[in-house]
Symmetry: C2
Subunit: 255 residues, 2 copies
C-alpha cells in the first residue's frame, strides 16, 4: 500500500518504475512451478504438461496481436506491430525451425516427447489454461489501446526468465537439448525490440492519472494471466496433482 | 471412448442421457474441494475464500443471462428467460434476504464473516475465478444460441450438490446457520423450472449430429468452468496453499 494520492500524474520515468515494480512483485518467474521447472525438479511428464499447455498460449499470441493491430490508427503503428505476427507465424514456404515462434514451440513440444497433432489439437490442455489465455485476447479487444499495449510489457521481464529457463533446463534434464529450446533464442532479441516500442508508446500516451492507473492495472492483469497458468499446471501435475477430467495424463500417471 | 459413429443423430432421449452423462463424469460435486466443504474439513477462512470467489460467479449470472436473452428471437422465449434475471437481481424496492440470488449470496458471504463492500468490490478474488467466469459470459455470447442454452444445463445436477452442501455445512460448521444458507432454498425450485425449459429447448433444436455434439461440448465446457473455480480455490487455500499475489488472505494466514 502506498500513501501517495491516487490522482497524481506520474512523470514518464516514474510510470516506467511503477510498471517495472509490477513485474518485480508479480511476474511468473516468482512462481514455485518456474523454480521447479528450471531447477530440474520435474519429471518428463510434468515438463510435457508445461510444453503442451504453453503451446495454447503461443498459438493465441498472433490472435491477440491481430486484434490489437486492428485497433491501431496509422500504417506506421500497424507496421511496427506487424513484426510480432511475423515473429510468431513466420513466413510462407519456409517451414524451418527458424520460421516463427509457434513452429519452434511445436518443436520444443515434440522434442520433449509429445505428438505434434495432439499438441496442435489442444484437446489435452487444462481448461484453466484456455480461460486465462482467452482472457488475454479479451483484454486486448475490450480495453483501451493504451491498456492493450501496456499488457504486452511483461516482455520487459522475459529475458531474465528465459535465461534461467534455458540454462537450468539444459543443465538439469537429459531429455532437453539446445535444439529443443531453440524457441527462446530469437526471443532474446525480439522481446527487447518490442519493449522499446511498447514502453515508449505507453509513456507517451498515458498522460492522466487514470490512464496511468489503467496501464498499470493492465500489466498487472497480464501478470495474473501468466501466473494463473502456472497455478493450474502446479495443481494438476505437481501438488496435489489433481488432473481435471479430460486433461492430458502423462504416461505412467494414474488419474 | 465410444465406438459409436460420431455422425449418428441421437433420439431426444439419447441426447438427454448423453447430457446427463456429462454431469455424472464432470460436475463439480465430484471435486475434492466440494467434499472438504460439505464434510466440515475446512476452516472459516477457507469457507470465506469459497464464498468470496463464488460471489463473482453469482454476480455475473445476470450478465450471462442478459447476453443470452438478447440473442433469443421471440417475446415468448425472452419472457421465459427473463425469470432468471428476476431470480438473481430481484425486484426494485424489496431489499430483503428473499430478494434475488445476488443479495442472498452477499448475506451468505457476510454471514461467514466477510465485509459486504469488500465482497462486492471483487478485488480479492482469484484471477482464475475471473477468467473462468468471464469464459462463461463469452461462451454464451460467441457460440450458437443452442449451445448457450445447453451450457445452462448444469442446473440438472444442482439439486444434489445443494442438498449435500446445505445439510453438510449446517451439520459441520458452528459458524453457519440456516439463515446464512438461505441462498440455496429458492434454487431448489428455480433450477428445476429452468431445466424443464432449457432441456426441452435443447432436445427440440439439436437435430443434427453436429448440433448435438455442440450442445454436449457446451455443457462439458460449463462443467470445466465450474471445476476450474474449485481447482483454483483448492490450490490457493487448501493444498499446497499458494495464494496468488493480490488475492484474499484469510485472517491469521501468512502469505
Amino acid at each position: 500500500m502506498t500513501a501517495e494520492p491516487q490522482d497524481r500524474v506520474l512523470s514518464p520515468e516514474e510510470l516506467e518504475a511503477a510498471l517495472r515494480a509490477v513485474g518485480a512483485e508479480r511476474y511468473h518467474n516468482l512462481h514455485p512451478f518456474h523454480k521447479l521447472l528450471h531447477s530440474g525438479a520435474l519429471n518428463r511428464g510434468q515438463v510435457q504438461a508445461w510444453a503442451l499447455n504453453r503451446y495454447y498460449y503461443q498459438s493465441r499470441i498472433p490472435a491477440k496481436d491481430a486484434v490489437l493491430l486492428s485497433r491501431l490508427p496509422t500504417p506506421d503503428l500497424r507496421r511496427l506491430w506487424r513484426s510480432r505476427l511475423e515473429d510468431h507465424d513466420g513466413f510462407p514456404g519456409a517451414d524451418t525451425p527458424a520460421n516463427g515462434g509457434i513452429e519452434r514451440w511445436l518443436r520444443l513440444a515434440t522434442g520433449v516427447g509429445l505428438d505434434r497433432d495432439y499438441v496442435q489439437s489442444t484437446v489435452g490442455i487444462l481448461p484453466a489454461t484456455r480461460f486465462a489465455v482467452d482472457a488475454y485476447v479479451s483484454l486486448v479487444r475490450d480495453r483501451s489501446v493504451l491498456e492493450a499495449v501496456a499488457s504486452s510489457l511483461t516482455e520487459m521481464f522475459s529475458p531474465t526468465i528465459i535465461a534461467e529457463r534455458v540454462s537450468g533446463m539444459l543443465a538439469n534434464y537429459d531429455f532437453i537439448t539446445q535444439e529443443t529450446l531453440a524457441y527462446f533464442t530469437p526471443r532474446l532479441t525480439q522481446a527487447p525490440r518490442d519493449v522499446d516500442f511498447a514502453l515508449a508508446y505507453v509513456k507517451e500516451h498515458a498522460r492522466t492519472a487514470e490512464q496511468q492507473r489503467g496501464a498499470i492495472a493492465a500489466l498487472t492483469e497480464k501478470c495474473n494471466i501468466l501466473w494463473a497458468q502456472l497455478d493450474a499446471l502446479h495443481f494438476a501435475y505437481v501438488e496435489p496433482g489433481y488432473i481435471p477430467p479430460g486433461a492430458f495424463i502423462p504416461e505412467g500417471r494414474r488419474q
